[in-house]
C-alpha cells in the first residue's frame, strides 16, 4: 500500500515539495494528491512582474499537467481545502470532496494584506499576488491614467514598476518615513527614493490613508491623516503579506501570536503527521517571505517523511534585486541591530551609490550590508556573512570603489566548497566546481547540470565567477582569437588599428598576424578599418577584404544575382521616387518586394546590370541603402505627431535625421533603429539596437534590442532627452560598441557580455567614467564626415566598373540563370522546374 501524501496548496513551495518527493529514490512508495485554490498549477510568482513585459502564464509555469500525470501526481484545481478531520485523517474541500492522508502538507502560502480603510473595496482597488490579480490590473490600467501603490516595500515598488510600464502616472504611498524599511537603512532608503523619483514615480512617505472616496478629477480620492489627499484612478494594495493560516487556525493547530503555523526543525506542526512549509509556516517566531527558505523547508519535509535527517535551521534573508531599474541589495543584519556592532558607510551623491557594511564589535566579521545603486559586491559580501569568514585587514576595501575599476580583490577562490552559491536550488560551490571538472564550460552547461542561477537569477554573477575560477584552475584557456591568423580578439584588433593608426589589412597582418588571412579576419578588419577611417570600401587596398555582399555593393542571392535596396530614410518616400523604382524594376524585370525595414527591395539584378540601374537611381536622388553592409540598416519610424492624433513628437523627422547621420557607419554587425511618436510604439523601437520613443518630456532612449534569431527587448537607457543629448548618447554608445564589440556580435549580445552590463554602459556614456566620451564623439563625427554614397563613387569611376561584369573577357551572361513567372513577377526556377524545362522567362539585358 502506498502512503498517501496530501499537499494543500500548489504554489511555489508546494510544487517544490512534490517535485523533490517524486524525484526521490523511494518515490514509488508514495501517492501524492495536491489541491489548489487557483485555477492553474504552480507558477513562478517571483517572476510575476515579467507578465507585464510580455511573459505569458505558460512562460511562468513551473510544471505541467503532463509532468504530474507522468509522475502519477493527482491534482485538483479550483477546490479549496476547508477542513481537516484529524480522527479519520481526511481533508475536506469546499466542493465536499474528502481525501484520506497518511501525511498532510500545508503549503498554503500567504495573502496580501489590505489595510482596513473605508472604501478599500472599490472595483479598481486591487492586489498583486496571482496571475488573476495581474489580469485585473491590466484591465484596470487600460482604463486609468493615474495609479497609486499603497506600500513602499519590495513588492510595492515592483508593483509601481508595473504601473509605470503600463503608462500610468504612478504614485507610491508609504506609511513609514522611508522606502523598503525592512531591508534598507535610512541612507539606502533615501538614495533609492531619489533614484526612483528621477524615473518619474512620485513617492509620498509618512502618509496614513484614512479613507477612499469618489474623486473629482480622477476615479478615487485618498484622504490622508495629515489632511492632504491624492486623486487616482486605481489603487494597488501592497502593504505586506499575511500567512494564509485560516485552515490551520480553524482546526486548532498551534499558531503564532500574530499568525503563521508554528513548526519545528522538521517542519512538523502541533498536529500529528501534519507539516507546514513555505510562507504559511512560522519557525522560531519568524515568517520567511522569500522563496529560497520555503524551498529549504520543502527539502526538510521530504527528508523527514522519507526517513532522512535534514533539519531546518533558519535561512538567510539577504536579497538582491532590481527595482525600476535600480539595483538594491540587503544582507544579514542590515540595520545593525546586533549589540555593539559597528559600521562603515560609503555614500556618493554624484554617482548615486550608497554602501554600508555592519561588522562585529571586534571588527573581525561581517554581519550585514546595504547596497544601493551598485551591487557588484553582493555575492562576496553575502558569502562572507553566511560563512562567517574573516574580514579583510582593511574592511574599507569592501565598499570603496577600487581605483582601477577592477572590483574587489576578495575572490571566490577563498570560499569553502560548502558555500551555498545558489539559494534557490541549494547549489554549493563544490557542486559547480564538480560540474566544471566534468566538462562544463559555459553558463548554459552549468545551468543545465546544476540548475544554479535558473531561479531568481540573483546568483548569476557569482556562479559565473566560481565557474571561471575553476576553469582557470584546471588550466582551461578560453581562446578569444578571431581566427588562426591573429592571436587577438576583434576588440584587441580594433584597439591596435585605432591606436597605431593602421590603414590597411597588410599592415595589420605584417605587424600582428601571419599566413594569408581568411574570410573571417579579412571582413572583420575591413569593418574595423571602415569604422575608424571610413575610406571607400572598393578602394584597391580594401577590395580583397570585402565579404560576399560588400564586394559588389549588393546582396548576393542564391543564384549569384543581386538585390538592390536604395535608402529610404525613415521609410518616407515621394511619389516621384516610387515611380522611378517601379520603372527600373519593370525595365530590368526585377522582382519587387516591400521589406521588413520599411523600404523596397528589387531582386534578380545581374552583375553587369548593377551600374546602369544604380545610375538611374542615383540620378533620381537615391543613395545606397547599405543592405549589404555590417552597418546602419534602417531607421524605422511611425508617422508621429505630424499626422497621428496621439503623436507627441515628430518621429519621422527624427528618424530621418538619425538615418542620415549614421548611414554608412560600419560596425561589428548591422545596426537598426526605430523611432516612435508616442508610447504606443508603432515603430517597434524596443526591438531595435537603438530605440527612440517620444514622451511629453522628450525622447526616451532604449539600447541593445534585437529581433532576429534570439529576440531581446531593448533596455531603457535614458529618459526625457532633448535632440542634442539623444544624438550625443547614441554617438557614444555606438562608437563604444564599434570599439569593443566582437565579430558579428549584435548590440544585444554585446551588452549581455559587457562586464557590468547596462549600469556600466551608463557610467561610460552618461557619466564618462572612462573619460573617453569626447573621443568617442569625435571619432563618430570623423566617420560621419567621411561619408560617401558608395554607389555614386563607383558609377563615377570607369576603372571600378570593369569588375561589374560576369566575364572579364566576354559580354555573355551567366547561362546558369533561369527564371519563371509567379504572381506577375519573376523568381529563380527550382531545380525540378529546370529539369522539366518548363517555360522560362526571358531575362532583360
Amino acid at each position: 500500500m502506498k502512503q498517501r501524501i496530501v499537499v494543500v496548496g500548489n504554489g511555489m513551495v508546494g510544487h517544490k515539495f512534490i517535485d523533490n518527493l517524486v524525484s526521490h529514490a523511494d518515490a514509488e512508495k508514495y501517492h501524492v494528491i495536491t489541491f489548489s485554490e487557483e485555477p492553474r498549477l504552480a507558477y513562478d510568482r517571483v517572476q510575476l512582474s515579467k507578465y507585464f513585459s510580455g511573459s505569458t502564464a505558460e512562460d511562468l509555469a513551473l510544471t505541467t499537467s503532463g509532468y504530474y500525470d507522468e509522475k502519477n501526481v493527482e491534482f485538483i484545481l479550483k477546490d479549496k481545502v476547508v477542513d481537516i478531520d484529524f480522527e479519520n485523517k481526511e481533508v475536506i474541500t469546499a466542493s465536499g470532496r474528502r481525501e484520506a492522508y497518511d501525511k498532510l502538507i500545508l503549503a498554503t502560502g500567504s495573502f496580501p494584506f489590505v489595510p482596513p480603510i473605508a472604501g478599500n473595496n472599490g472595483e479598481h482597488c486591487l492586489v498583486y499576488r496571482t496571475i488573476e490579480d495581474l489580469e485585473a490590473i491590466t484591465y484596470s490600467a487600460a482604463r486609468s491614467k493615474v495609479g497609486v501603490v499603497v506600500g513602499g516595500g519590495l513588492l510595492g515598488l515592483e508593483a509601481a514598476a508595473a504601473l509605470k510600464a503600463s503608462g500610468l502616472e504612478t504614485h507610491v504611498v508609504e506609511f513609514a518615513p522611508r522606502l523598503m524599511a525592512v531591508q534598507l537603512d535610512e541612507g539606502g532608503g533615501k538614495l533609492l527614493r531619489r533614484k526612483i523619483e528621477a524615473l518619474g514615480v512620485k513617492i509620498h512617505t509618512q502618509k496614513a490613508t484614512t479613507e477612499i472616496v469618489a474623486g473629482t478629477e480622477a476615479r478615487y480620492r485618498m484622504n490622508f491623516a495629515d489632511g492632504s489627499h491624492l486623486e487616482t484612478d486605481m489603487i494597488l494594495f501592497s502593504a505586506g503579506i499575511r500567512p494564509q493560516d485560516e485552515l490551520a487556525r480553524k482546526c486548532g493547530i498551534v499558531m503564532g501570536e500574530r499568525g503563521g503555523i508554528t513548526i519545528d526543525n522538521n517542519c512538523l506542526t502541533s498536529a500529528k503527521d501534519v507539516y507546514a512549509i513555505g510562507e504559511c509556516a512560522l519557525w522560531q517566531n519568524r515568517i520567511y517571505g522569500l522563496v529560497a527558505p520555503g524551498y529549504q523547508m520543502a527539502k526538510v519535509a521530504v527528508s523527514h517523511i522519507t526517513g532522512g535527517a535534514e533539519q531546518f535551521t533558519g535561512a538567510d534573508m539577504s536579497t538582491k534585486l532590481k527595482l525600476l531599474g535600480v539595483d538594491v541589495a540587503s544582507i544579514g543584519d542590515a540595520h545593525g541591530n546586533t549589540p555593539g556592532s559597528l559600521s562603515y558607510t560609503y555614500s556618493n551623491d554624484v554617482e548615486e551609490v550608497y554602501k554600508r557594511i555592519i561588522v562585529s564589535a571586534d571588527n573581525t566579521k561581517l554581519l550585514g550590508a546595504v547596497l544601493v545603486g551598485e551591487v557588484e559586491a553582493y555575492g562576496t559580501l553575502q558569502q562572507m556573512c553566511v560563512n562567517g569568514m574573516d574580514l579583510p585587514d582593511d574592511p574599507n576595501c569592501l565598499i570603496l570603489p577600487s581605483v582601477d575599476g577592477a572590483g574587489m580583490a576578495m575572490g571566490v577562490v577563498a570560499l569553502p566548497d560548502t558555500a551555498q552559491i545558489c539559494s534557490c536550488f541549494d547549489v554549493t560551490k563544490g557542486a559547480i566546481c564538480c560540474a566544471v571538472q566534468n566538462g562544463a564550460g559555459t553558463m548554459g552547461d552549468i545551468k543545465a547540470i546544476t540548475k544554479a542561477s535558473t531561479g531568481c537569477g540573483g546568483c548569476a554573477v557569482l556562479t559565473k565567477q566560481v565557474m571561471d575560477a575553476e576553469l582557470i584552475k584546471l588550466g582551461v584557456e578560453v581562446s578569444n582569437h578571431i581566427c588562426e591568423h591573429f592571436p587577438h580578439s576583434r576588440h584587441e584588433l580594433a584597439d591596435i588599428v585605432r591606436i597605431k593608426k593602421i590603414k590597411t589589412f597588410d599592415e595589420l597582418l605584417d605587424g600582428h598576424g601571419h599566413g594569408l588571412g581568411c574570410d573571417i579576419c579579412k571582413p572583420a578588419t575591413a569593418s574595423i578599418l571602415a569604422a575608424f577611417w571610413n575610406e571607400y570600401v572598393l578602394d584597391e587596398k580594401h577590395i580583397g577584404l570585402q565579404d560576399t555582399n560588400d564586394i559588389f555593393l549588393g546582396n548576393m542571392q542564391k543564384d549569384g544575382t543581386y538585390s538592390i535596396v536604395p535608402r529610404v530614410a525613415g521609410g518616407e518616400i515621394t511619389p516621384e521616387k516610387l515611380i522611378v523604382l517601379g520603372q527600373v524594376a519593370k525595365e530590368y524585370k526585377l522582382y519587387t518586394k516591400i521589406t521588413g525595414g520599411q523600404r523596397i527591395d528589387l531582386f534578380g539584378a545581374q552583375l553587369h546590370q548593377l551600374p546602369a540601374i544604380w545610375k538611374v537611381l542615383v540620378d533620381a536622388g537615391f543613395e545606397t541603402g547599405h543592405a549589404y553592409g555590417k552597418s546602419l540598416r534602417t531607421v524605422k519610424s511611425c508617422v508621429g505627431s505630424t499626422w497621428c492624433r496621439y503623436g507627441v513628437l515628430d518621429s519621422v523627422s527624427m528618424a530621418i535625421t538619425l538615418e542620415n547621420r549614421y548611414k554608412g557607419v560600419r560596425a561589428p554587425h548591422k545596426i537598426k533603429f526605430g523611432v516612435s511618436g508616442c508610447t504606443r510604439e508603432c515603430a517597434e523601437a524596443q526591438s531595435k539596437d537603438f530605440g527612440v520613443i517620444a514622451t511629453e518630456n522628450g525622447w526616451n532612449l532604449f539600447v541593445c534590442g534585437n529581433g532576429g534569431m534570439r529576440p531581446r527587448h531593448a533596455d531603457l537607457f535614458a529618459t526625457g532627452l532633448d535632440d542634442a543629448t539623444l544624438i550625443k548618447y547614441i554617438d557614444r554608445v555606438m562608437m563604444f560598441y564599434i570599439r569593443t564589440g566582437d565579430r558579428l556580435q549584435r548590440t544585444s549580445v554585446w551588452l549581455e557580455n559587457l562586464e557590468g552590463g547596462l549600469a556600466y554602459l551608463k557610467k561610460v556614456v552618461i557619466e564618462d567614467k572612462l573619460s573617453i566620451a569626447e573621443e568617442l564623439e569625435a571619432q563618430m563625427q570623423y566617420n560621419i564626415d567621411q561619408y560617401q554614397c558608395e554607389w555614386k563613387t563607383t558609377i563615377e569611376n570607369p576603372e571600378r566598373l570593369k569588375r561589374f561584369k560576369h566575364f572579364i573577357n566576354s559580354d555573355e551572361r551567366d547561362d546558369n540563370l533561369a527564371y519563371v513567372a509567379e504572381r506577375g513577377q519573376v523568381r529563380p526556377a527550382f531545380k525540378s522546374e529546370r529539369e522539366s524545362r518548363i517555360e522560362l522567362v526571358e531575362l532583360a539585358d
Partner: protein, 110 residues
C-alpha cells in the same frame, strides 16, 4: 599535340591584388585569383557545386593552415586553390587549371 594551348583571358592589372575575376574560356567559366603575398595567380572552375551557382570568383581568398583557399561567397565552404578539393566536404572537388602571367596577360590552359 600533347601540349595544350595557353589562352590569354585578361590583362594582369585587371586582376586586382587579392581578388578574383571570372573569364569565359571555351564555354567554361573560370575563376581567376591573384594572391599578392604569394605573387601567384590561380585558376579554378567558377561553379560552386554546393551552392550550385557560378560565383566562386567572387569569394575571399586566404589560407587555412598551409593550404591556399577561396571561400565560397554563398555558404563559405573552402576550396583548395591548388587541388580543387573542398575542405569541409571532400566529396566535392572542383576543376583546377594551369595558369600563368605572360607579357602582362593572364593565360590559362584548358
Amino acid at each position: 599535340m600533347s601540349e595544350k594551348m595557353w589562352i590569354s583571358v585578361c590583362e594582369y592589372q585587371d586582376l586586382l591584388p587579392d581578388t578574383g575575376l571570372c573569364a569565359l574560356v571555351n564555354k567554361q567559366q573560370i575563376a581567376l585569383f591573384n594572391s599578392r603575398r604569394l605573387n601567384e595567380v590561380f585558376a579554378v572552375s567558377n561553379f560552386d557545386p554546393i551552392g550550385e551557382a557560378n560565383v566562386l570568383s567572387r569569394g575571399i581568398i586566404g589560407s587555412i593552415g598551409d593550404e591556399v583557399v577561396v571561400a565560397s561567397p554563398l555558404y563559405k565552404q573552402h576550396f583548395n586553390l591548388r587541388t580543387g578539393e573542398c575542405l569541409e566536404k571532400p566529396e566535392h572537388t572542383i576543376p583546377v587549371y594551369p595558369v600563368r602571367v605572360e607579357d602582362g596577360l593572364v593565360q590559362v590552359q584548358i
